[in-house]
Subunit: 182 residues, 2 copies
Protein backbone atom coordinates (compact mmCIF):
# COMPACT_ATOMS: atom_id res chain seq x y z
CA UNK A 1 0.00 0.00 0.00
CA UNK A 2 1.46 3.44 -0.89
CA UNK A 3 2.44 5.67 2.05
CA UNK A 4 -0.04 8.40 1.16
CA UNK A 5 -2.99 5.96 0.94
CA UNK A 6 -5.86 6.78 3.31
CA UNK A 7 -8.41 4.31 4.61
CA UNK A 8 -11.80 5.53 3.35
CA UNK A 9 -13.90 2.54 4.49
CA UNK A 10 -13.51 -0.08 7.17
CA UNK A 11 -15.47 -3.28 6.52
CA UNK A 12 -15.93 -6.61 8.29
CA UNK A 13 -13.25 -8.18 6.08
CA UNK A 14 -12.23 -5.55 3.54
CA UNK A 15 -10.83 -2.07 4.17
CA UNK A 16 -10.73 0.34 1.24
CA UNK A 17 -7.79 2.69 0.70
CA UNK A 18 -7.50 5.58 -1.78
CA UNK A 19 -4.76 7.94 -2.81
CA UNK A 20 -4.01 10.51 -5.49
CA UNK A 21 -1.48 9.59 -8.14
CA UNK A 22 -0.13 11.50 -11.11
CA UNK A 23 -0.47 9.66 -14.43
CA UNK A 24 2.00 9.73 -17.34
CA UNK A 25 -0.02 12.59 -18.83
CA UNK A 26 0.41 14.72 -15.70
CA UNK A 27 -3.24 14.37 -14.64
CA UNK A 28 -3.99 13.35 -11.07
CA UNK A 29 -6.32 10.39 -10.55
CA UNK A 30 -7.71 8.65 -7.49
CA UNK A 31 -6.27 5.15 -7.14
CA UNK A 32 -7.90 2.49 -4.98
CA UNK A 33 -6.69 -0.66 -3.30
CA UNK A 34 -8.10 -3.03 -0.68
CA UNK A 35 -6.62 -4.55 2.40
CA UNK A 36 -7.89 -7.73 4.02
CA UNK A 37 -6.58 -10.17 6.65
CA UNK A 38 -4.04 -12.68 5.33
CA UNK A 39 -5.06 -16.32 4.93
CA UNK A 40 -3.36 -19.39 6.35
CA UNK A 41 -3.82 -22.62 4.40
CA UNK A 42 -2.57 -26.04 5.47
CA UNK A 43 -1.56 -29.26 3.71
CA UNK A 44 -1.69 -31.59 6.72
CA UNK A 45 -0.07 -35.03 6.46
CA UNK A 46 -0.88 -37.65 9.09
CA UNK A 47 1.62 -39.95 10.75
CA UNK A 48 0.49 -42.62 8.26
CA UNK A 49 1.15 -40.43 5.22
CA UNK A 50 -2.49 -39.54 4.50
CA UNK A 51 -3.32 -35.99 3.45
CA UNK A 52 -6.16 -34.23 5.25
CA UNK A 53 -8.60 -32.27 3.11
CA UNK A 54 -11.98 -30.79 3.98
CA UNK A 55 -15.45 -30.98 2.47
CA UNK A 56 -16.89 -27.62 3.48
CA UNK A 57 -20.26 -25.97 3.63
CA UNK A 58 -20.76 -22.28 4.29
CA UNK A 59 -24.12 -20.49 4.40
CA UNK A 60 -25.12 -19.21 0.97
CA UNK A 61 -22.39 -21.11 -0.92
CA UNK A 62 -22.34 -24.44 -2.77
CA UNK A 63 -20.44 -27.17 -0.83
CA UNK A 64 -16.83 -27.49 -1.93
CA UNK A 65 -13.69 -29.52 -1.25
CA UNK A 66 -10.55 -27.65 -0.27
CA UNK A 67 -7.58 -27.38 1.99
CA UNK A 68 -8.23 -26.44 5.60
CA UNK A 69 -7.38 -22.93 6.67
CA UNK A 70 -8.79 -19.52 7.38
CA UNK A 71 -8.21 -15.89 8.16
CA UNK A 72 -5.28 -14.73 10.29
CA UNK A 73 -6.68 -12.77 13.25
CA UNK A 74 -5.51 -9.22 13.94
CA UNK A 75 -2.12 -9.32 15.66
CA UNK A 76 -1.89 -13.10 15.26
CA UNK A 77 1.26 -14.76 13.93
CA UNK A 78 0.64 -16.51 10.58
CA UNK A 79 2.01 -19.87 11.77
CA UNK A 80 -0.05 -19.62 14.98
CA UNK A 81 -3.13 -19.00 12.81
CA UNK A 82 -2.36 -22.08 10.71
CA UNK A 83 -1.97 -24.20 13.85
CA UNK A 84 -5.22 -22.82 15.30
CA UNK A 85 -7.17 -23.39 12.08
CA UNK A 86 -5.90 -26.98 11.75
CA UNK A 87 -6.94 -27.76 15.31
CA UNK A 88 -10.33 -26.03 15.06
CA UNK A 89 -11.30 -27.45 11.68
CA UNK A 90 -9.96 -31.00 12.04
CA UNK A 91 -8.99 -31.69 15.68
CA UNK A 92 -5.46 -32.58 14.52
CA UNK A 93 -2.10 -31.29 15.73
CA UNK A 94 1.17 -31.54 13.78
CA UNK A 95 4.75 -32.34 14.86
CA UNK A 96 6.46 -30.32 12.18
CA UNK A 97 5.53 -27.16 10.28
CA UNK A 98 7.09 -25.76 7.11
CA UNK A 99 6.11 -22.85 4.87
CA UNK A 100 5.12 -24.24 1.46
CA UNK A 101 4.46 -20.98 -0.35
CA UNK A 102 3.12 -17.44 0.03
CA UNK A 103 1.30 -15.71 -2.80
CA UNK A 104 -0.58 -12.46 -3.35
CA UNK A 105 -3.46 -13.63 -5.56
CA UNK A 106 -4.94 -10.26 -6.53
CA UNK A 107 -2.85 -7.20 -7.44
CA UNK A 108 -5.43 -4.72 -6.15
CA UNK A 109 -5.74 -6.41 -2.75
CA UNK A 110 -3.11 -6.24 -0.03
CA UNK A 111 -3.58 -9.93 0.87
CA UNK A 112 -1.16 -12.84 1.21
CA UNK A 113 -2.15 -16.50 1.26
CA UNK A 114 0.41 -18.47 3.28
CA UNK A 115 0.39 -22.23 2.71
CA UNK A 116 2.06 -24.57 5.20
CA UNK A 117 2.88 -28.25 5.18
CA UNK A 118 2.06 -29.78 8.58
CA UNK A 119 3.73 -33.18 9.06
CA UNK A 120 3.16 -35.91 11.60
CA UNK A 121 -0.49 -34.94 12.22
CA UNK A 122 -2.32 -36.72 15.01
CA UNK A 123 -5.91 -36.36 16.18
CA UNK A 124 -5.99 -34.77 19.63
CA UNK A 125 -9.54 -33.42 19.96
CA UNK A 126 -12.87 -32.93 18.27
CA UNK A 127 -13.51 -30.19 15.72
CA UNK A 128 -14.37 -26.78 17.11
CA UNK A 129 -16.26 -24.93 14.36
CA UNK A 130 -17.96 -21.58 14.44
CA UNK A 131 -21.50 -21.26 13.11
CA UNK A 132 -20.34 -20.09 9.71
CA UNK A 133 -18.95 -23.45 8.56
CA UNK A 134 -19.61 -27.18 8.39
CA UNK A 135 -16.54 -29.27 7.70
CA UNK A 136 -16.17 -32.96 6.96
CA UNK A 137 -12.58 -34.15 7.32
CA UNK A 138 -11.34 -36.50 4.58
CA UNK A 139 -8.10 -38.51 4.66
CA UNK A 140 -6.73 -39.34 1.23
CA UNK A 141 -3.54 -40.96 -0.03
CA UNK A 142 -1.08 -38.97 -2.16
CA UNK A 143 -2.28 -40.30 -5.54
CA UNK A 144 -5.92 -39.49 -4.71
CA UNK A 145 -4.84 -36.03 -3.55
CA UNK A 146 -3.07 -35.40 -6.88
CA UNK A 147 -6.10 -36.68 -8.83
CA UNK A 148 -8.45 -34.43 -6.89
CA UNK A 149 -6.33 -31.33 -7.46
CA UNK A 150 -5.69 -32.01 -11.16
CA UNK A 151 -8.95 -33.53 -12.37
CA UNK A 152 -11.32 -33.60 -9.41
CA UNK A 153 -13.20 -31.45 -6.97
CA UNK A 154 -10.34 -29.94 -4.95
CA UNK A 155 -10.18 -26.40 -6.34
CA UNK A 156 -6.81 -24.86 -5.48
CA UNK A 157 -5.25 -23.01 -8.36
CA UNK A 158 -1.72 -22.62 -6.93
CA UNK A 159 -1.55 -26.29 -6.03
CA UNK A 160 -2.86 -27.20 -9.46
CA UNK A 161 -0.01 -25.32 -11.14
CA UNK A 162 2.56 -26.95 -8.84
CA UNK A 163 1.19 -30.42 -9.57
CA UNK A 164 0.88 -29.88 -13.33
CA UNK A 165 4.52 -28.76 -13.33
CA UNK A 166 5.40 -31.83 -11.28
CA UNK A 167 3.56 -34.07 -13.75
CA UNK A 168 5.77 -32.64 -16.50
CA UNK A 169 8.98 -33.09 -14.52
CA UNK A 170 9.69 -36.19 -12.35
CA UNK A 171 12.34 -34.23 -10.40
CA UNK A 172 9.69 -31.72 -9.32
CA UNK A 173 7.27 -34.50 -8.40
CA UNK A 174 9.91 -36.13 -6.19
CA UNK A 175 10.68 -32.77 -4.57
CA UNK A 176 6.97 -32.23 -3.91
CA UNK A 177 6.55 -35.68 -2.33
CA UNK A 178 9.65 -35.07 -0.23
CA UNK A 179 8.21 -31.76 1.01
CA UNK A 180 5.11 -33.63 2.13
CA UNK A 181 7.14 -36.53 3.52
CA UNK A 182 5.16 -39.14 1.58
CA UNK B 1 -24.62 -11.26 -4.58
CA UNK B 2 -27.46 -12.26 -2.20
CA UNK B 3 -30.76 -10.40 -2.71
CA UNK B 4 -30.71 -8.86 0.77
CA UNK B 5 -27.16 -7.48 0.35
CA UNK B 6 -26.92 -3.71 0.74
CA UNK B 7 -24.23 -1.50 -0.71
CA UNK B 8 -22.44 0.12 2.23
CA UNK B 9 -19.60 1.78 0.31
CA UNK B 10 -19.16 2.97 -3.24
CA UNK B 11 -15.53 3.24 -4.36
CA UNK B 12 -13.72 4.20 -7.53
CA UNK B 13 -13.42 0.52 -8.50
CA UNK B 14 -14.78 -1.51 -5.60
CA UNK B 15 -18.24 -1.35 -4.04
CA UNK B 16 -18.73 -3.07 -0.69
CA UNK B 17 -21.92 -5.01 0.10
CA UNK B 18 -23.03 -6.43 3.46
CA UNK B 19 -25.90 -8.59 4.63
CA UNK B 20 -27.01 -10.52 7.68
CA UNK B 21 -26.88 -14.29 7.49
CA UNK B 22 -27.82 -16.96 10.00
CA UNK B 23 -25.02 -19.46 10.74
CA UNK B 24 -25.41 -23.18 11.42
CA UNK B 25 -25.50 -22.36 15.14
CA UNK B 26 -28.46 -20.00 14.70
CA UNK B 27 -26.39 -16.85 15.33
CA UNK B 28 -26.69 -13.99 12.89
CA UNK B 29 -23.46 -12.58 11.42
CA UNK B 30 -22.68 -9.81 8.99
CA UNK B 31 -21.32 -11.16 5.71
CA UNK B 32 -19.40 -9.04 3.25
CA UNK B 33 -18.69 -9.21 -0.46
CA UNK B 34 -17.30 -6.85 -3.07
CA UNK B 35 -18.42 -5.92 -6.52
CA UNK B 36 -16.18 -4.50 -9.19
CA UNK B 37 -16.40 -3.97 -12.97
CA UNK B 38 -15.74 -7.07 -15.04
CA UNK B 39 -12.51 -7.35 -16.99
CA UNK B 40 -12.07 -8.06 -20.71
CA UNK B 41 -8.80 -9.73 -21.73
CA UNK B 42 -7.71 -10.44 -25.29
CA UNK B 43 -5.45 -12.97 -27.00
CA UNK B 44 -5.04 -11.17 -30.33
CA UNK B 45 -3.61 -13.09 -33.31
CA UNK B 46 -2.43 -11.16 -36.35
CA UNK B 47 -3.10 -12.09 -39.96
CA UNK B 48 0.42 -13.59 -39.99
CA UNK B 49 -0.22 -15.80 -36.97
CA UNK B 50 1.72 -13.69 -34.44
CA UNK B 51 0.27 -13.21 -30.97
CA UNK B 52 0.09 -9.69 -29.58
CA UNK B 53 1.14 -9.19 -25.97
CA UNK B 54 1.88 -6.03 -24.03
CA UNK B 55 4.76 -4.78 -21.91
CA UNK B 56 2.98 -2.49 -19.49
CA UNK B 57 3.88 0.21 -17.02
CA UNK B 58 1.43 1.70 -14.55
CA UNK B 59 2.24 4.39 -11.97
CA UNK B 60 3.40 2.82 -8.70
CA UNK B 61 3.80 -0.70 -10.09
CA UNK B 62 6.74 -2.66 -11.45
CA UNK B 63 6.62 -3.07 -15.27
CA UNK B 64 5.05 -6.36 -16.35
CA UNK B 65 4.22 -8.36 -19.47
CA UNK B 66 0.63 -9.45 -19.94
CA UNK B 67 -2.30 -9.80 -22.24
CA UNK B 68 -4.00 -6.60 -23.36
CA UNK B 69 -7.33 -5.78 -21.78
CA UNK B 70 -9.05 -3.69 -19.19
CA UNK B 71 -12.18 -2.84 -17.26
CA UNK B 72 -15.63 -3.09 -18.82
CA UNK B 73 -17.32 0.32 -18.55
CA UNK B 74 -20.71 0.66 -16.88
CA UNK B 75 -23.44 -0.44 -19.28
CA UNK B 76 -20.87 -1.56 -21.85
CA UNK B 77 -21.14 -4.94 -23.54
CA UNK B 78 -18.20 -7.23 -22.67
CA UNK B 79 -17.27 -7.92 -26.29
CA UNK B 80 -17.48 -4.20 -27.10
CA UNK B 81 -15.12 -3.55 -24.17
CA UNK B 82 -12.67 -6.15 -25.51
CA UNK B 83 -12.76 -4.54 -28.99
CA UNK B 84 -12.29 -1.07 -27.50
CA UNK B 85 -9.38 -2.14 -25.29
CA UNK B 86 -7.62 -3.91 -28.18
CA UNK B 87 -7.91 -0.81 -30.36
CA UNK B 88 -6.88 1.64 -27.59
CA UNK B 89 -3.94 -0.39 -26.30
CA UNK B 90 -2.54 -1.68 -29.60
CA UNK B 91 -4.17 0.12 -32.53
CA UNK B 92 -5.25 -3.27 -33.95
CA UNK B 93 -8.70 -4.44 -35.06
CA UNK B 94 -9.75 -8.08 -35.46
CA UNK B 95 -11.85 -9.86 -38.11
CA UNK B 96 -13.16 -12.57 -35.81
CA UNK B 97 -13.93 -12.72 -32.09
CA UNK B 98 -14.52 -15.78 -29.92
CA UNK B 99 -14.95 -16.17 -26.17
CA UNK B 100 -12.01 -18.17 -24.82
CA UNK B 101 -13.06 -18.42 -21.17
CA UNK B 102 -14.77 -16.59 -18.33
CA UNK B 103 -13.66 -17.05 -14.73
CA UNK B 104 -14.45 -15.56 -11.33
CA UNK B 105 -10.99 -15.42 -9.75
CA UNK B 106 -11.97 -14.49 -6.18
CA UNK B 107 -14.95 -15.98 -4.33
CA UNK B 108 -15.57 -12.86 -2.25
CA UNK B 109 -15.60 -10.54 -5.27
CA UNK B 110 -18.44 -10.36 -7.76
CA UNK B 111 -16.05 -10.07 -10.71
CA UNK B 112 -15.71 -12.00 -13.96
CA UNK B 113 -12.66 -11.97 -16.22
CA UNK B 114 -13.74 -12.63 -19.81
CA UNK B 115 -10.96 -13.71 -22.18
CA UNK B 116 -11.45 -13.50 -25.94
CA UNK B 117 -9.47 -14.75 -28.90
CA UNK B 118 -9.33 -12.07 -31.61
CA UNK B 119 -8.27 -13.46 -34.97
CA UNK B 120 -7.12 -11.77 -38.16
CA UNK B 121 -5.80 -8.71 -36.34
CA UNK B 122 -4.63 -5.78 -38.47
CA UNK B 123 -3.14 -2.45 -37.43
CA UNK B 124 -5.58 0.36 -38.23
CA UNK B 125 -4.43 3.23 -35.99
CA UNK B 126 -2.01 4.39 -33.34
CA UNK B 127 -2.40 3.49 -29.66
CA UNK B 128 -4.72 5.70 -27.67
CA UNK B 129 -3.67 5.35 -24.02
CA UNK B 130 -4.91 7.15 -20.94
CA UNK B 131 -2.39 8.66 -18.54
CA UNK B 132 -2.50 5.65 -16.24
CA UNK B 133 -0.62 3.29 -18.56
CA UNK B 134 2.35 2.94 -20.87
CA UNK B 135 2.13 -0.01 -23.21
CA UNK B 136 4.69 -1.44 -25.60
CA UNK B 137 3.14 -3.85 -28.10
CA UNK B 138 5.09 -7.07 -28.72
CA UNK B 139 4.40 -9.57 -31.53
CA UNK B 140 5.53 -13.11 -30.71
CA UNK B 141 5.17 -16.46 -32.44
CA UNK B 142 3.21 -19.27 -30.80
CA UNK B 143 6.22 -21.10 -29.34
CA UNK B 144 7.57 -17.90 -27.77
CA UNK B 145 4.11 -17.17 -26.38
CA UNK B 146 3.95 -20.63 -24.74
CA UNK B 147 7.49 -20.20 -23.33
CA UNK B 148 6.62 -16.80 -21.89
CA UNK B 149 3.46 -18.08 -20.18
CA UNK B 150 5.04 -21.27 -18.82
CA UNK B 151 8.55 -20.20 -17.89
CA UNK B 152 8.85 -16.53 -18.66
CA UNK B 153 7.56 -13.11 -17.78
CA UNK B 154 3.95 -13.33 -18.99
CA UNK B 155 2.05 -13.79 -15.75
CA UNK B 156 -1.42 -15.15 -16.48
CA UNK B 157 -2.45 -17.91 -14.15
CA UNK B 158 -5.45 -19.22 -16.12
CA UNK B 159 -3.47 -19.37 -19.33
CA UNK B 160 -0.62 -21.10 -17.49
CA UNK B 161 -2.96 -23.87 -16.35
CA UNK B 162 -4.39 -24.26 -19.86
CA UNK B 163 -0.90 -24.49 -21.37
CA UNK B 164 0.45 -26.88 -18.72
CA UNK B 165 -2.53 -29.14 -19.39
CA UNK B 166 -1.84 -28.82 -23.11
CA UNK B 167 1.82 -29.76 -22.55
CA UNK B 168 0.61 -32.95 -20.87
CA UNK B 169 -1.86 -33.80 -23.62
CA UNK B 170 -1.10 -33.29 -27.35
CA UNK B 171 -4.83 -33.35 -28.15
CA UNK B 172 -5.35 -30.32 -25.89
CA UNK B 173 -2.36 -28.54 -27.44
CA UNK B 174 -3.77 -29.07 -30.93
CA UNK B 175 -7.20 -27.80 -29.74
CA UNK B 176 -5.55 -24.72 -28.24
CA UNK B 177 -3.63 -23.94 -31.43
CA UNK B 178 -6.79 -24.43 -33.45
CA UNK B 179 -8.65 -21.98 -31.19
CA UNK B 180 -5.95 -19.42 -31.93
CA UNK B 181 -5.84 -20.35 -35.61
CA UNK B 182 -2.05 -20.87 -35.59
Amino acid sequence: MPENAKRVFRGVIFDVYQWEQKGYDGNVKIFEKLQRPDTAVIIPVTQNGKIIIAKQEQPGKAPFVGLVGGRVDEGEDVLAAAQRELLEETGYEAKEWELFDAVEPVSKIDWTVHTFVAKGCKKVSEQNLDGAEKIEVLLVDFDTFVEKVLYGDLADIELKIRLLEAKLDPVKMEAFKKQLGV
